[in-house]
Symmetry: C2
Subunit: 267 residues, 2 copies
């Protein structure tokens, strides 16, 4: 199994946001190599249909299969919500998304069982978080709210601008009456708005699922005996994008604090 162990972990996202997940995986599993794919030619996914996102996800899976990855992380909440089931049905390689780990973390943190989730329009309307929470033991209520302006605000550097506070107050207002004590940041861009969201929400626990995902990946690799050999050289990260490597490299700095190798490919 030596050769399988030393294969890379594949991580994909609609764009640059999934690097928050890649960063957590690198931190927790420093010996693992990562191949990251960002679909920058077709970003964003958040307001597109299930059929289209599933088609894109399969194209990316095919790319990652050719790179012979040992495990795939769907780091995009929208693709996890709409297409994870289809990917799991079709491929032998273990695949995980970001919904399950985020929900399990929220369940661990919530005291009153009232949990909020914010995400893109497609994520929230898919009800994927609701279905995952229904699997948890105990009684929980989930309140979802789509926040479609958060991604463009982050991508345009408005991470602590007064405009963003105004938008956040508008979007998050309805959670006050719901008395949630835990809020899942159900989009890879949202951890960059943690400061704004925390201020607007006050005394509510925020779930950044990237750490939970990294723990899930560690568990899966361990269970299957696929973890890279200890004492091996430090892991590497190689990024592929479907458009404009240079632009990706620049924005990536906001997410991942290291220099990365980025190549453009056409799927």
């Amino acid at each position: 199994m030596e050769s399988l162990k030393n294969r890379s972990i594949g991580i994909f996202d609609s764009g640059v946001g999934g690097l928050t997940v890649a960063k957590s995986v690198r931190k927790l599993l420093p010996h693992e190599d990562i191949i990251y794919f960002g679909d920058t030619a077709r970003v964003p996914y958040g307001n597109k249909s299930k059929a289209t996102i599933t088609r894109f996800a399969h194209q990316i899976m095919f790319f990652l299969m050719e790179k012979r990855v040992k495990l795939v992380v769907v780091a995009c909440n929208t693709a996890s919500s709409l297409s994870l089931g289809s990917l799991k049905r079709h491929y032998r390689v273990p695949v995980t998304g970001v919904i399950g780990p985020g929900v399990r973390e929220a369940v661990r943190l919530s005291k009153n069982g009232r949990v909020g989730v914010i995400g893109t329009s497609s994520t929230v309307s898919s009800k994927a978080y609701d279905r995952e929470l229904a699997k948890a033991k105990g009684s929980y209520r989930l309140f979802g709210k789509s926040c479609p302006l958060f991604v463009p605000l982050v991508e345009n550097g408005f991470t602590s601008d007064p405009v963003t506070y105004k938008v956040a107050r508008k979007y998050l207002k309805e959670f006050k009456a719901k008395r949630i004590d835990t809020l899942i940041l159900g989009c890879t861009h949202y951890p960059l708005l943690k400061g704004v969201i925390a201020k607007v929400m006050g005394n509510v626990r925020l779930v950044d699922s990237s750490l939970a995902v990294a723990r899930e990946v560690k568990g899966m690799l361990g269970d299957k005996g696929l973890d890279a050999c200890r004492g091996r050289r430090p892991g590497t990260i190689r990024c592929y994008v479907s458009d404009d490597a240079e632009g990706f490299r620049k924005t990536a700095g906001m997410f991942l604090k290291e220099k990365i190798d980025v190549k453009k490919v056409t799927l």
Copy 2:
């Protein structure tokens, strides 16, 4: 030439925004049939590279060629800025974009020769408006500013929200010192923000190029003897999108005040 005359005009855009152009064409040329393509699976174009947008534009041209259109309007400012030259070089069918008509309209309106243009990041950094204005007789200065949040604000219905005023004041502030008297709305979504932009800019003429484009189309059809026969039945409009016909139909209502037929196709 009868059969050529009765073919449709092809209009394409990254999404729904180009319907502002389709609307003007229908108004000025009520006997013409229109085939509209919105690339909703890959929208937006505004922050993507020239190579990628040009690849998308050629795929759409191929689709329109199969529909046997007699003329193509690139209704997207980004695609016009980045890819019009390539399309004109490769196809026999007459192709027009939105940059030239917009610039000629601005030249007609400006008294002091100081013209502003707002658009997506890719449009503004392409310098396509600068190159077009350089062809005008007389002495003009162009000041460009990208406003990347305007499209998501429009698409999420924030067309007259206080947030949008705040963003507009931030983006447009720098035009004050430039003493422009004319501002080109260099993106098909921006006419929907006319109210906000007019209030923020005060006494400045706003150029909505959709009317200018319709006049250009009329002129081109006339010159080439390709205009639909007068006295013919009223023209029709058929829309094709690369994702989610239902969502397009809904948003289309904001742009085009008539019921439309929308089909999803995979390019």
